[in-house]
Symmetry: C2
DNA sequence: CTGAAAGCGCTAACAC
DNA sequence: GTGTTAGCGCTTTCAG
């Protein structure tokens, strides 16, 4: 930049004014602007983000702290976030919390906030309460997406887990199912609560299974369910990953879906439609939520109005081929 | 930092020496070190990465440019890279090339290089030749992973596509298959070439299908294959995503796998083992390759020796339940 | 409309 | 062993 100031015979500050792109009133003459612009192009000028950041203005970096990048769900979320961010000219800095409740790691993730104009926290972090608190210390705006319980004082974008679960259970009971089990995960308590609430707490012993949110976890949970004195005729999985695991486990044991067992997932990840059989599941509006989160962050940044906002979207049921009336 | 210098009554430079953590010879006395350290803790001091970056030292940021984050393969890659990077204290800055051959977007991705100590380029970018050239302009080290053809002058980590494809085809022919088709994708020409080479170019018309690297793409390709006068008895898919699509398509048409059709994938993504039936596939050593890439980048950074290095790993065949002898 | 100059937080010579 | 000093590249008053 100094170079191009010298070449054009203009002061560095003028160059800055022109190159920073801001409307900056009507202060620069057309001619100098052209000269500077062309010189910049010729020199292949690129602004140095560190200098910008240091000076206190925008970094154009958005920090993203993900609960666990291993989870396919968060994988697609990051992809969508990245696109949404790019639309506003922002790039993403990734902080994987690694699913560990290790405070040190969480802290490290928070450190990245210093680079960034805003932070997006993806997933449920109630196991690591310090993370959000630490984040509040930093002065950057924070948006929480899919954080189970809306936390006071944070902008957040959530899905209506309760309504969604009830929708799925309505579908199953409409089909005639009475023996419906849940396969869940610690980080998804809200969905579990909704399940229990639906049945007024009258749920058979063993009909709520927990496991790791992996394919194997789902298969293992199904095995435990099948070992029950009265195995369920339908399984509602708290995530598609678990549901696919259940599908896999059923196939391994020779149980045909949906003839002998109905399975419902949650998320509608791309592979849900491609499963065998195609999975009936609750469609999570991932793109909408990610976009909303980014927009919330960017809006907070530009308005400079720090009013926390909370949004809740709905997950609709997509009926495919993994559900049918119970046998008999 | 100035604050904590004032509080402890020490010069800022001393504070820097202590806080930057570098061994810095034996220059600081134990006592001042302790004083400074505790003051820093009390003040909640956090180094400012921009200042660091501006000053020319490490940012602890690694740039990652991904071919297409929508692809589940690259999703898990990013997760693994993130973990590997964190092990060395680095965070990731994400640049999604969005699969578009749009030069502008690619350029934007390159811009991010200015933030970073090194860049990792993930996937095949031969359609966007300018990207790599632009990257060479920047002075940061660049490592290419899964870039189809090793490019002169770039450090790279690749998989031996040719050997892998031959391994899969050996398996299929050993089972007795003669009519073997390939479902591929433009960005995976090396795998296609290996397929053709294996048969000495004597491949039936229509036995090489291309489509989008999505589940639907795989299903569509299978439909075209089934419409052939002599449909193949086995399908080798260039990715697991395509293979799952083929599985899905087969189920939709009532073709049972592996009794009537054998399917082999490539990548061994987590969902391959959970598919119905479990997918026989080539196991991509994703974790090893990602770790190797990060280590290559970090090593280049610390040795400051810029010798490009090329590594090639093998993909071994994992036989599961989607392959069997042909019908009859 | 443009120039001069200060300084963001940090590191690295170079002195003492 | 520690203090002084000069920037890194950029934005931003404040004067002209």
């Amino acid at each position: 930049m100094k170079d191009i100031a010298r070449v054009t015979g203009v002061a560095q500050s003028t160059v800055s004014r022109i190159l920073s792109g801001r409307p900056d009133a009507i202060s620069v003459s057309e001619e100098t602007r052209r000269r500077v612009l062309s010189a910049a192009l010729a020199h292949g000028y690129r602004p140095n983000p560190h200098a910008r950041g240091l000076r206190g203005s925008r970094t154009m970096l958005l920090g993203v702290i993900v609960r666990d990048l291993t989870d396919p769900f968060f994988g697609v979320v990051v992809g969508v976030l990245s696109r949404a961010a790019k639309k506003h000219g922002y790039s993403l800095v990734l902080g994987d919390a690694q699913g560990e409740p290790d405070e040190a790691i969480a802290l490290a993730a928070v450190l990245e906030a210093r680079h960034c104009d805003a932070m997006v926290v993806v997933g449920d972090f109630r196991e690591q309460p310090r993370l959000l608190d630490d984040l509040k210390t930093e002065e950057v705006p924070v948006v929480a997406v899919w954080h189970g319980a809306p936390r006071h004082g944070f902008a957040s974008v959530s899905v209506d887990n309760r309504a969604a679960i009830h929708r799925a259970l309505d579908h199953l009971t409409d089909l005639g199912h009475k023996a419906i089990a849940l396969v869940g995960h610690v980080s998804l308590q809200e969905r579990e609560r909704a399940f229990l609430e639906y049945f007024g707490g009258r749920v058979s012993r063993g009909y709520v299974q927990h496991d790791e949110n992996t394919f194997e976890g789902g298969a293992a949970a199904l095995r435990r369910l099948r070992a029950l004195p009265e195995p369920p005729t339908a399984v509602l999985a708290a995530t598609d990953v678990l549901a696919i695991g259940v599908l896999h486990g059923a196939a391994a044991e020779g149980i045909s879906v949906p003839a002998h067992l109905s399975v419902v997932g949650f998320d509608d990840l791309p592979f849900a439609a491609a499963a065998v059989p195609p999975l009936t599941t609750l469609h999570m509006p991932i793109a909408e939520m990610a976009t909303a989160a980014i927009e919330l962050a960017v809006a907070t940044l530009s308005n400079n109005t720090r009013k926390p906002k909370e949004q809740t979207l709905q997950a609709e049921l997509v009926v495919r081929a993994s559900t049918a009336p119970p046998p008999e």
